[in-house]
Amino acid sequence: MIGTHKQNFLRGAKDGIPIFLGYFAVALTLGIAAKAAGVTPLQAMLASLTNNTSAGEFIGFTLIAEGGSYLEMILMELIANARYLLMSCALSQKMDPTVPTWQRLLMGHGVTDEIFSISVSVPGKLDPFYTYGAIAVAVPGWTGGTFLGVILGNVLPTSLVSALSVGLFGMFIAAFIPAAKKDKVVAGTVAASFLFSYLMNRLPVFDFLSSGMKTVILTVVIAAAAAILFPRKEETENVA
């Protein structure tokens, strides 16, 4: 990335605005689930601030409601969030090797589907300050939305929540389509991802897998297949 830390922070903050809106909408529904599990508004807010993950928190609140064991909680979080492990690997290559550990520890909290999506799409190497900017804007939306969700419950009109819930997907699309336009292999990979993801999520044979596990399996298999069939040439590495 070109520019000072301050400029990159502001860029990240700007790109964080749609994430804020999407998080807010999704967090409201998360808050409703938390309320059903008997979690108080402040506890739900604490969970969102420290966890910062949709699927993981949904599963967590469900387990809390059921009174599941602590070990079960750890295992479910590992499965629900295993995709972050892959994202974290990808980000490790997106950053300059000189970025110090404390910065990596700080920006690590921002490894969510959405913040990852914009962080990995910046041209060239990632300046962690870009990710800080996005975290600074997006995480209050997530935390505040959860809090309000517990308090307001189902007050918001369904039509509005329904419309806002597409916002996060819009951001994913804005991240992979431009790359697919530039690189035919990425385009083919995206098409294959749509196809196999559809099959895995619609065929009852795979019902025993959680959606987080499906994401992990599909990602590993499809990305590995693409890497074997179409290994990248060194000079075009930094296009993304």
Partner: protein, 104 residues
């Protein structure tokens, strides 16, 4: 056995945080292996595409509205529109489509 909610939340947070930071802090060098480099290059696009479809169809009240929003977002992104615009116009597409379907 009764469980403490704060212990639950702490376990959730610690597990999730460790998953997020371990690769970021442990992998400090540029990986030289061509397969792994290629693999990690494709990972983000595959993950994002997999998470988008078919999940987007289940996110709205009407799957048709989501399908239209998907098309609108793909076209806008293809023509290089900003993240914000792609995202917001996706939401608007759903809102209008569902309004027509429910009131039209």
């Amino acid at each position: 056995m009764s469980h403490n909610i704060y212990i639950y939340i702490a376990l959730m947070a610690i597990t999730t945080y460790l998953i997020r930071i371990l690769p970021l802090t442990l992998i400090r060098r540029e990986i030289k292996n061509r397969f792994i480099r290629s693999f990690l290059y494709y990972v983000p696009y595959v993950t994002l595409a997999v998470m988008t479809f078919p999940a987007i169809l289940d996110a709205t009240q009407e799957p048709l509205a989501a399908a239209l929003a998907l098309c609108v977002c793909i076209v806008l992104a293809y023509f290089g529109k900003s993240l914000f615009l792609v995202s917001v116009l996706g939401c608007v597409t759903v809102f209008i489509t569902e309004w027509i379907m429910h009131h039209g």
